[in-house]
Amino acid sequence: MSLSRREFLRLLGLAGAAGLLPVGSFAAARRPSDLYEIPRFGNLTLLHMTDCHAQLNPIYFREPSVNLGIGAAKGRPPHLVGKSFLQHYGLEPGSIEAHAFTYLDFEKLARKYGKVGGFAHLATLVKRLRAERGDGNTLLLDGGDTWQGSGTAFWTRGQDMVGACNLLGVDVMTGHWEFTYLEKEVIANIQQFKGEFVAQNVSVNEDALFDYAFADFEGFDEESGLAFKPYTMKVVGGMKVAVIGQAFPYTPIANPRRFIPDWTFGIQDERMQGLVDRVREKEKPDLVVVLSHNGMDVDLKMASRVSGIDVIFGGHTHDGVPAPVVVSNKGGKTLVTNAGSNGKFLAVMDLEVSKGRLKDYRYRLVPVFANLLPADAEMQAYIDKVRAPYKEKLEQKLAVAEETLYRRGNFNGTFDQVICNALREVKDAQISLSPGFRWGTTVLPGQEITLDNVMDQTCITYPETYRREMTGKDIKDILEDVCDNLFNPDPYYQQGGDMVRVGGMDYVCNPAEKMGRRISDMRLDGGTPIEAGKKYVVAGWATVSSQAPGRPIWDVVTEYLERHETIRIDKLNTPKLVGVQGNPGLGT
């Protein structure tokens, strides 16, 4: 093929958007001798990581086997899994890329290719790319969900990650789970962060403006009422690059508002348009990019409504998407990416920019395999240091996994089932509920389950558990509400998490239905129908509205694991799905 590999990848992005992918040629065109040999192109390089969820060490992470797209999103990136994914992007089954991007043959290939991510390995890759591209020609963007997700991040209130990001040299970041610490901790962490924290969609609410506690914080602007700097200008490869921040718009809804009472969020796409126009006029940038935590479906919609953005580097939905989606809008075209999660990938976009225009680009979402990238000594020393006070506790062996334990997917993963079973057993409940987070690492069969693993799945700042009576109707209302947050055909009404996990009950789910009609045939594990008016004892955790009374979820799960010693899932409470047969977001 006379087309260069990178030219091919660019076209692939365009073809992918148009649904015209040449099957098989993707893999053929990119068989590098070295996975990390990424030839230079253009005059500047933007590196993007997102949603690492504080995973400082290499981990396993199984990609979803269910990631349904409903309505216009059906069968379109990122709603492709397994074989449909391989076919769409022309990846060879069993290859290292196929393993990185899909759940297929997960256990076998995880053993073959080893762990992914880890900041010491990521640091080696970042250093190599920076060196190859030369001083001043790269920028490292972090889309957020960086300060939460591990025991050490929880116990240091995110500070271990601020230090790690400073060492890695993150230039610009935005946030989501960063806002689940207290306001004063968020502000203090940002002040310690050596890069810049940007968010155009976080305002100080009108009541708080009367007497704002952080009026002296340098990111706050009294005129606009914005709590953080909305954008920053950087010179990269001699070009002026505007980086606009877009924090997770639904933070005070998906997570407790009580931790951040002064701040109000929202998608704010009109404000985004105004800002893009103003930045273009005032700063005369050569390139305008958005560092977004919207989630991919929201980014795709925003890209169609807001014009003047060259690239949206996206996160939140944890979608490892190999090629940008090209979205047309009234001002031209915008590229939309999503760069996976848990430190598994680094996105590398080489751009050719001149005189205020993006001429061409090459994009690779590079999987970080710990076995292929030696650990950076300085970063490893830092990680060892921050883990030292907690190491013994975290590495304590609690039980042995008899099968792969994972979370990611629209419905119950096996690790979720462990949590749900723990809640039912330890708290003596008929039914359990557990949030559908998209973070949480994977444990292979035969592996010891440690407190590290439990914290990876549970460490939030509102971990308290509850045990209470709910009627069948209450339970259905909760399921319907969360299901609409996942499957509403309009992405602006979605929140980006997965479906709430259940224990002790089954149900039928029709994702394409309207709110209130998706959930039916709810039954207890034994098959007894759940009645609307009858009361059931329900245990759960992660209540958003107020603090629950029980002990933290990790205590409950730890107790359960120690009681059982070996962990096998006899029954996965995943719903029977209706109306989605043949959906490319459903693994076969």
Partner: protein
Amino acid sequence: MKHDQKRRVFLKGSVAASTVGLAVGAGLLTPGVVLAAWNKNAFQAKAIDKAIAAAAGNPTTTPSEKITIKAPDIAENGAVVPVSIKADMDGVDTIALLVEKNANPLSAIFHLPKGTLPDVSTRVKMGKTGDVIAVVKAGGKLYSARKGVKVTIGGCGG
């Protein structure tokens, strides 16, 4: 929006944001005038058509793209949902704001003296997911627009 830019300064000089906060703060209305305009039947109407009829004189409105409703797609707090209504038309007399699914749908009526910019803001309480509806009376005719606002129990974000 222009009034956003000096929001803090503006707010400091006005009463706390209430249904009539904007108009009162801008010195356009005095509290007595507001009370005199209280339309008991309209505010207590249970059905949306009746509320519109009682507020605006007629239940039939013409949908208009010249009315912009600014409200969150998903409410951060159903108890205080910020809503702004702007009408890009001349001769606006009143702007009524209704919340479709509330027991008493009519939340506010803004009476605009001649020459007032038809751009109002308030906060409404919303019990459940549904539309907020703006009914604008201009030149003796009734125009309307609606926007969906989702009220969710929240949680479970990725």
